[in-house]
Amino acid sequence: MSAGFVSKMDSFVSAFEFLQRQKEGSFLRALRQKAFDQFSPLGFPTQEREEWKYTDVSQVVNTPYEISFHPPSLPLSPGPLFLEDLPADRLVFVNGFYTESLSRKSQGLQIKSLREAVHEKSFQKYFDQERKEKPLDALNTALFQEGLFLEIPKGAKIQHPIHFLFIYSCQRPEAIFPRNLFVLNEHSEATVVESHVGLDGEVYFSSPLTEMVLKEGARLELIQIQKQGGKAFHIGSSYVNQERNSFFSHAVATLSGKLVRNDLNMTLRGEGSECVSNGLYWTEEGQHVDNTTFVDHAFPQGTSRQLYKGVLSGRSTAVFYGKILVRHGAQKTDAQQTNQNLLLSKDAKVDTRPQLEILADDVKCTHGAAVGQLEEEPLFYLKTRGLGEAAARRLLTYGFMHEVTDQIRLEPVRQRVEEVLLGRLL
Amino acid sequence: MLEIKNLHVSIEGVQILKGISLKINKGEVHAVMGPNGSGKSTLAKVLAGDPAYTVTKGEVLFEGNNLLKMEPEMRAREGIFLAFQYPVEIPGVSNTYFLKAALNEVRVAKGLPELDAMEFLELFNKKLKQVEMDQTLAHRSVNESFSGGEKKRNEILQMTVLEPRLAILDETDSGLDIDALKIVAAGVNQLRSPDRSMMVVTHYQRLLNYIVPDFVHVLLEGRIVKSGSKDLALQLEREGYDGVKDSLASAKS
């Protein structure tokens, strides 16, 4: 394969044309064509679109990217990998390309590259099925370089977590479109960690898309961490399709990255299914973090819980846009959503929009949002116990975040996240 | 006054009452005792017409009429009062407004004229004193941010105002300290009259020290397994429900 393509939108067109000339097979070719046709007239989203009202992607668009279709050739000396000590099967991707030499597989998992899996029925049935007509998700389908198809067999309970580690190392600005599909068959269980780690000085645009299918009674725990470089753009989408009595537990921690957008779509497509999503973000100078969630209660007796908490410092902005839709007939739905923000600096800005759209009557739905500062009373209390102002504030800020970090049930991951947060407090 | 014949009741497909027969005459006080899950609260709620329960078999006559055919509000207007175990909160609706509406419904059913606001308040204040409740209660919303004890006393207050023919007290003693219990019991005793019957549903004998029943029935697994005088309650207190079970078992064998 020849190398990349440079310049702004042209690079996407050229990359697409390049891919159409490759022997990817009719299934993929058709999918990519359809997706690119969706993307082309729309382009990158503008703030006129309701779901992008508070996030301006012009700085992402205005960067000329290379799009590479072969693994990076530069010799990598990665040093210790992120979450190296996590007892897990580890699948490492460098600039979107699966890298066997850094990976570690021990549990006999059914993992195939997307290109290998393309002829399989279960792949064709689920791949690209959940994606809504959002321009950047369409762009991912049109241009994804590589990715994995993970299928957990019926009733299988995967003991150790599976860590999808995405490492970015780009000497020139690159656009990278990781793509994965997880199918958890009936009553299977798995824990997946998806982390994105990049270098501070490098400019790149990562736009991952992960689709997840939870068949009846399946349980998936997903932890997503963005520890992207300080100049990196990250716009990721996750789609979860939940069948009867399935359970999806999600935690997302945005630790760094210039512009990070997490788009999470959870569809409860069977009775009695449940999803939990907890998010945290701590923004620093020049950062913008956007968490956009959508819970679609399409069937009765679904439960959803969301708790997103953020701390904002420096000149930074955070956005929360969470929508709960309870469709006609989705009776006995129980949905909750909370977003809380702590403003540490006078230049920080928060836009939050929790939204309820309810079309069934026998439901319990609540949402709440708050923006504020640390409470005076506990501050005073801590001072009476001998803590100085700064120490007291640090402790309370840590306490504020703890409600969410506590929900990360994978101990080494929780520790790592807390380390990063504690580092900021010092 | 009340005649229950072979009553079978289920909720969400689970059979709770499995053939209850019981007769309460005018002026009598019956205690229905039983451990948790025996079906005693179910019995109380079914008599009041809680739509969550399904009567699968049997009949209930109230003053000779088929009670089970009546809507809950009709039963209330006929003089059946249920003091709830867990009275529900109705935000924004003041206690006096609520009770005045209820009283006037009952009065109209009895062929009495409705009371206007002034007449009602006079009556209400008199009754408040009877149950030793605070004046501020009048303005608060029905059961909203009431303590457990206040809720129970509020039920007794309502009963005192509505003057039912048959009062059903569902675990009115639960969650009450001894002082509150005495006040509640005093309120109930004031209402005892040759024209009024009562069914006192309780887990513990304690309440029956204050509201002395004419008859005691023991409910186990949806059936009345033993009936007797007030002494039966004392026996239960000594031996516990297991004691009754054991003696029943040995009697059978």
Binding site: P354, A369 | R77, A102
Partner: protein, 477 residues
């Protein structure tokens, strides 16, 4: 439980039509129509110029489509923009008011005749496009309060009009505000001078009578330093199977330490059970807390209209100023409402409270949409928002769409919302006390709205509570 249809459907009480001889312009809108309206009202040239600017601007605007309501496209050339009862254009006393009109307002429960007047409430009655009578004028003028129709104010107080007209809602603000500025025919004007506590409630009653007319009235209230006024607004319209457009503009100005309480009980005809007919109520209401320590309170009870689309807002400019919004919106049958508020915190220590209660029944679709914006200089700004929705029946919808934008780190903003139905336990409890389902639902719904009702003046609160009961009748299953 009783079936929905077993309750008697009470008819909309105010759906009658008054046969009147009217002075009506032909359908359609053009610069000539605007000139005619201005001419009929004998307006000074600044008014005509302002109207024409608004009209020209309107021509460049697009009808907004972002709200959560659906309706067929409105043909703006198929509307009559001016309709007035024919008799004497200028009224000095009630004796000159047409008997038909007096009877109409009496049937609506708004007696205008001296001996029957509502105690302590001065009323400006607006019939179709014009104000027909204002009561208690003399008493008010003794206190220095100006309360008159907008047309009169243009004649008698042009300086005040010129100063404040469009100062809160400029004609460029939005599509309907521009349209209103171009064609509005009347409305009410209140001016409360410095330090005056208005001695009585002021009230405007709006009545649409003529068919195929749009109603475009404009209200302007100016409260000078340290003054206080409580203003009430009521509305009704005849039953018709075609939709009618009502696009009003309300502007409030509160100077230092002034306080304006603006209450609305909106009962425009809402269409029939199948959703045919009814008023499109597209209204722009905004207040400006200009001075320090000023306060504006919007209280609204919205039970009517086929579609309601309005966001009474407060711009909190003066330090320590306060904005409040209390709302009950009921959507029954096929009614749609997209309503809420905007609280824009500009000054320091500004505070706002939003309490919204939405009730949806049958196919009603109720949306709360609200913006709380804290600008960088609004030190210590505070907002508290509570939005509750009550759903009656499985075919209705309730949406809560808050927008919270905070740019100041010493401010605190809190939003809470809940959606629920009347619980079976609550219903059973009431029924066990002898109360019928219908009365129980009424009682519980009224309790749900209590926080809002208690902000209404007494007589209005009673009225609103009754109205809610009537509007809900037949909707409870």
């Amino acid at each position: 439980m009783n079936k929905p249809d077993s309750f008697i459907q009470q008819e909309y009480k105010y759906g009658f039509v008054t046969p009147m001889e009217v002075d009506t312009l032909p359908k359609g809108l053009s610069e000539d129509v605007i000139r005619l309206i201005s001419q009929k009202k004998n307006e000074p040239s600044f008014m005509l110029e302002w109207r024409l600017k608004a009209y020209r601007h309107w021509l460049t605007m697009k009808e907004p489509s972002w709200s959560h309501v659906h309706y067929p496209k409105i043909d703006y050339q198929d509307i009559i923009y001016y309709s007035a009862p024919k008799k004497k254009p200028k009224l000095n006393s009630l004796e000159e008011v047409d008997k038909e009109l007096l009877t109409t307002f009496e049937k609506l429960g708004i007696p205008l005749e001296e001996q029957k007047r509502l105690a302590g409430v001065a009323v400006d009655a607006v019939f179709d496009s014009v104000s027909v009578a204002t009561t208690f004028k003399e008493q008010l003028s003794k206190a220095g309060v100006i309360f008159c129709s907008f047309s009169e104010a243009v004649q008698n107080h042009p300086d005040l009009i010129q100063k404040y007209l469009g100062s809160v809602v400029p004609y460029t603000d939005n599509f309907y505000a521009a349209l209103n500025a171009a064609v509005f025919s009347d409305g009410s004007f209140c001016y409360i001078p410095k330090g005056v506590r208005c001695p009585m409630e002021l009230s405007t009653y709006f009545r649409i009578n003529a068919a195929e007319t749009g109603q475009f009235e404009r209200t302007l209230i100016v409260a000078e330093e340290g003054s206080y006024v409580s203003y009430l607004e009521g509305c009704s319209a005849p039953l018709r199977d075609t939709n009618q457009l009502h696009a009003a503009v309300v502007e409030l100005v509160a100077q230092e330490k002034a306080s304006i309480k603006y209450s609305t009980v909106q009962n425009w005809y809402s269409g029939d059970k199948e959703g045919k007919g009814g008023i499109y109520n597209f209204v722009t209401k905004r207040g400006k807390c200009v001075g320090r320590n000023s306060k504006i309170t919007w209280t609204q009870v919205e039970t009517g209209s086929a579609i309601t689309w309005k966001y009474p807002s407060v711009i909190l400019i003066g330090d320590d100023s306060v904005g409040e919004f209390y709302s009950v919106a009921l959507c029954n049958n096929y009614q749609q409402a997209d309503t809420g508020t905007k609280m824009i915190h500009v000054g320091k220590n500004t505070r706002s409270t939003i309490i919204s209660k939405g009730i949806s029944a049958r196919h009603g679709n109720n949306t709360y949409r609200g913006l709380v914006k804290v600008l960088p200089k609004a030190q210590n700004a505070r907002n508290y928002t509570q939005c509750d929705s009550l759903l009656l029946g499985s075919d209705c919808a309730a949406n809560t769409f808050p927008y919270i934008e905070v740019q100041n780190n010493s401010s605190k903003v809190g939003h809470e919302a809940s959606t629920s139905k009347i619980s079976d336990e609550q219903l059973f409890y009431c029924k066990q006390r002898g109360i019928s389902s219908e009365n129980a639902v009424n009682m519980i719904v009224n309790g749900f709205c209590k926080e809002v009702f208690r902000n209404l003046p007494m007589e209005f609160a009673v009225e609103a509570s009754k109205l809610l009961g009537v509007s809900l009748e037949g909707s409870v299953g």
